[in-house]
Amino acid sequence: MAQAENGATGVTADGLEVSTEKVEILPGASTDLTAMTFAIHNEDHTLGNALRHCIMQNPDVEFCGYSVPHPSLQKIHLRIQTLTTTTALDALNKGLSDLYGMCEHMLTEFEDVMRNGDYQIVDDDEATATTS
């Protein structure tokens, strides 16, 4: 796995990434905590865009956007601005939970479909000949 610039990231035996500084709040957060920019280390568009989408679905979020500040830095910046009904940190938390929940739901749905066996099982030679 890619090394963090501060060297604080490692991989545990079960493949979990552990870091003391996975997420930091960049300077310039508003005092009422409704606007913040987060730096998430060792992440890219994979998580960035999906997370941005989830956070934007929150009705209390006014703005959410992400960027990869530089292609050779292994991090993303995530900007969240919310209404006064919530805080940027809570919105990020909710976004993460929602994304996790969506994955979980996709997983159970997919496993259900596979269990029902309502699909065609084909030979590989046939499969390459008849792709839709």
């Binding site: 796995m1 890619a2 490692g10 991989v11 035996a13 493949g15 979990l16 990434e17 870091s19 500084e21 996975k22 997420v23 709040i25 957060a29 905590l33 987060f38 992440e43 568009h45 994979t46 998580l47 865009n49 999906a50 997370l51 989408h53 989830c54 934007m56 679905q57 929150n58 009705p59 940190l89 938390n93 993460l96 939970s97 929602d98 994304l99 996790y100 929940g101 969506m102 994955c103 979980e104 739901h105 996709m106 997983l107 749905e109 997919f110 496993e111 479909v113 596979m114 309502d118 699909y119 065609q120 099982i121 084909v122 030979d123 590989d124 046939e126 499969a127 390459t128 792709t131 839709s132």
Partner: protein, 348 residues
């Protein structure tokens, strides 16, 4: 043209209506609670079409492009596999240079369950829990003169081991690997991958160490040949297309997309199967169909195609990719919760 919320529209020279606007406050008088996780659960639909040993085709319906793309990206770059990391060349007198040979060996898919192994960090030494060892010892020799015709030119017939294939790799079990993998001995997925060519007197002797890794580090760890998706095409016939025009219309699409039916003695073009369309936009080149047809794609209907290298079956790959994404969320969430107290200090 009124705003079409569900489709991307393909015009002759441009694609319009590209971005999704499925967010709260985008449309008047819409219930904002219909978004997020609950909305997702209502909309999601998965349909698996076909599964083979190496491929899988399925529809992922009701998801945003960002999520479908995250899954695709993870399939390519972040689902771990085992691959040859180090090649210790003891002897190589063939014409394939050591470094080229090592690169070729690295790309061979190794049939080993990655979940049975740990990632090996730089400061760790190899153990039976993080490394698989293969030996490769091949020597090319001449076949005895009396077994080949005098005018034979085919190297396969003249020499033994003139071509070195992936089946030359012999697994060298370490620790309790022999018992742990007794049911499914570790081997290359495919036996006849050409690695090198030799001529009599040349030989290759090396020890290969496999480690667990991810495609983001090097493509040899990618568990897929490809993982891709496209949006479901949708052909909207705005106005009846009849007579000879119907035949011409049919010819603008790949076979099976449009059918010509006869209703009350009149030939009429009908869409038979949207998904077979390649969206070549041929139909938009013909003036006679102007205004009669609109080519679209359904924005949240992804036709997914996973092609495995053969190490992990495609349905398992999809499951693992989602687990990787869930793991990412969990790790970031943990980190966010860790910085939350600091945040309360700010509030005081």
């Amino acid at each position: 043209m009124p705003y079409d919320r569900d489709h991307v529209v393909l015009e002759p020279e441009q694609v319009t209506n590209v971005s999704s606007h499925e967010y709260p406050h985008h449309f008047p008088n819409e219930d904002p609670s219909g978004f997020g996780l609950e909305g997702f659960k209502k909309k999601l639909n998965i349909k698996v079409w076909r599964v083979s040993r190496d491929t899988m085709e399925f529809d992922l319906v009701g998801v945003d492009a960002s999520l479908a793309n995250a899954v695709r990206r993870i399939l390519i770059a972040e689902v771990p596999t085992m691959a040859i990391r180090y090649v210790y060349v003891l002897n190589n007198t063939g014409i394939i240079q050591d470094e080229v040979l090592a690169h070729r060996l690295g790309l061979i898919p190794i049939l080993a369950e990655p979940e049975m192994f740990n990632f090996k960090t730089a400061d760790e030494s190899p153990t039976d829990l993080n490394t698989i060892v293969f030996q490769m010892q091949v020597k090319c020799t001449r076949r005895p003169n009396d077994t080949v015709a005098a005018d034979e030119t085919d190297p396969d017939k003249l020499y033994v081991n003139s071509s070195v294939y992936s089946n030359a790799l012999t697994w060298d079990p370490k620790g309790d690997q022999a018992t742990r993998f007794a049911d499914n001995p570790i081997r290359p997925v495919i036996d006849d991958i050409l690695i090198a060519k030799l001529r009599p007197g040349q030989e290759i002797n090396c020890e290969l160490h496999c480690e667990k890794g991810i495609g983001a580090d090097h493509a040899k760890w990618s568990p897929v040949a490809t993982a891709s998706y496209r949006l479901l095409p949708h052909i909207d016939i705005k106005q009846e297309i009849t007579g000879d025009l119907a035949d011409k219309f049919q010819k603008c699409f790949p076979p099976g997309v449009v059918e010509v039916v006869t209703e009350h003695g009149v030939k009429k073009a009908k869409v038979a199967n949207h998904r077979k369309d390649t969206v070549s936009r041929e139909v938009l080149r013909h003036k006679e169909f102007e205004g009669m047809v609109e080519l679209k794609r359904v924005r949240d209907h992804f036709l997914f195609n996973i092609e495995s290298t053969g190490i992990i079956p495609p349905p398992t790959l999809f499951v693992r990719a989602i687990r990787v994404l869930m793991n990412k969320c969990a790790v970031v969430k943990q980190a966010v919760e860790a910085i939350a107290p600091k945040d309360e200090d700010m509030q005081e």
